[in-house]
Subunit: 299 residues, 2 copies
């Protein structure tokens, strides 16, 4: 597949790719790099790299595949710091949750001797940092690739095979389709989760304590994704703001109709919504995207 | 404790109480009753009752404790059908998720020879029906009791001990406090979950399929509670509508501010919200109300 792979940015995703690749054992040498010194210390301690370098530029020198797994706000800086050191014919990909923005930066920097194939593994947990990595994180999850029309087909195939080698399924789509779909499946749910927590916290101290105490009635489910990496999510919301605002507006419209239904005691409408929701949940489980164990199998 | 207990309504909660009591073995005789014939068949098959009766009235005749575990829309009917058969000195309680409404009905029917102590075990899964019952459902969860000021203290103690015997912690509070707190911890999250699913489903077929496929990015967490029992939730929304609408309005106000922050690229405000959310999640885990395993320990 690839002789040498560099992973730039060793958080939850970067360290999971490293562990996944090590488990499979298909790559001769895997280099991980992170600009954060605390992270570098952990990389050393946890043996998350075959070789340690002091800069992103050095870390990519002889690599066949470079994966940029940083938040999008660091993306352009990373590209600038590695662009002169890339091996001719090397392939660049990334793991950002927004793809129009990534494509724009790739276009702007315009790497002449490398092939750029933006990607997004739709996988993760609420934990972040290099210690959070899991070798099986991508098992049965999707990775979406959003290449340009005139992409090198051989390189695209290689990147697809790469993700499949660590358990992922691969889908190719337009960056604009990706960003729209993710605005519903991921960005809107996160916006809602953060704001349901905000709403709970806007009560007085005593009520807040009670809310925490009785959170098992539903609230706790929302707080899981609201514990995700702040920097990453700030970047996503700012980068995909137009589509996210559209999704939020659609959601608020639905919520207003729902308010009307409950104040009018519209039993029929409510039951219709609830029954449809049950069906939707079933489809997600059928698609292998969640567990059918009650309470997510919590113990 | 009690010699004979009757559980009226044998869904997730009723059957979990039955199983919990059987596991502990503290009650001589436990009668469960459900007006639904399909449920009665399951009660027989799964041995969820020490004795089967054909009416709620007969099922309560010699019982010391009667637990009404039906949706609130059936509550008044159940009370009317049992009121003439209650043993003098018997205690009545319930498991409804709304408490002002239950207190009103207790007041309206005014049982002279029995003591009424409304209750709500804050526990559950997204499954419903008698087969969904789990003996440990109430372990480390709270049960909230909302008795009148002039309640019989001995009876209150007995009901508290009862819930503690099947693993629950017990808190006593005013019905109005209960309904307010639950509007944040449970009712608002459910309203939001249903509407986030509605928003996703309002797309065209192809987009909808994609949304299901990539739901692991966050959406799937919301669909769990949106799969809960429709009748129960219709009743809760209609019964507690005033407080729920208040909570929804507060939530929409937060969401509008959030929209402003992302369109203005207000990094500071966003990071502040996200950091606070992480802290809130930590408090919930510290309070023993959720697991700290990443992804809820999904496998």
């Amino acid at each position: 597949m690839f002789d040498q792979v560099s992973i730039i940015g060793c958080g939850l995703i970067g360290s999971s790719i490293f562990k996944g690749l090590k488990k499979v054992g298909s790559i001769k040498k895997i280099i991980t790099f992170d600009k954060d010194k605390t992270v570098t210390e952990i990389i050393k301690k946890e043996k998350l790299s075959d070789e340690i370098f002091n800069s992103a530029g050095e870390a990519v020198k002889n690599s066949d595949l470079i994966i940029i797994a940083t938040p999008i706000s660091s993306f352009e800086n990373v590209l600038n710091s590695i662009k002169d050191n890339l091996k001719t014919g090397s392939i660049l990909t990334d793991t950002c949750s927004v793809k129009i923005g990534v494509n724009k930066i790739f276009k702007k920097i315009n790497l002449k001797n490398s092939i750029c194939i933006p990607g997004h593994p739709v996988a993760g947990t609420e934990s972040s940092g290099p210690k959070a990595g899991i070798a099986d994180l991508f098992q049965n999850r999707w990775t979406i690739l959003t290449p340009n029309k005139n992409v090198d087909e051989k390189a695209l195939k290689k990147v697809s095979n790469f993700w499949e080698s660590i358990g992922s399924k691969v889908k190719i789509m337009l960056d604009e389709d990706h960003d729209k779909i993710l605005s519903f499946t991921s960005h809107l749910p996160h916006a809602v989760a953060y704001n349901i927590v905000q709403t709970s916290m806007s009560n007085d101290e005593e009520t807040k304590e009670d809310i925490i105490r009785y959170s098992a009635g539903g609230l706790r489910d929302f707080t899981r994704i609201a514990a995700s990496d702040p920097i990453m999510w700030r970047d996503i919301f700012i980068d995909n703001s137009a589509l996210i605002i559209k999704a939020i507006d659609k959601f608020i419209k639905n919520l207003d109709e729902f308010k009307k239904a409950i104040s009018e005691k519209d039993s029929k409408k409510l039951l219709e919504i609830f029954e449809k929701s049950k069906e939707f949940r079933k489809s997600i489980i059928k698609a292998g995207q969640d567990t059918d164990k009650p309470s997510f199998g919590r113990k």
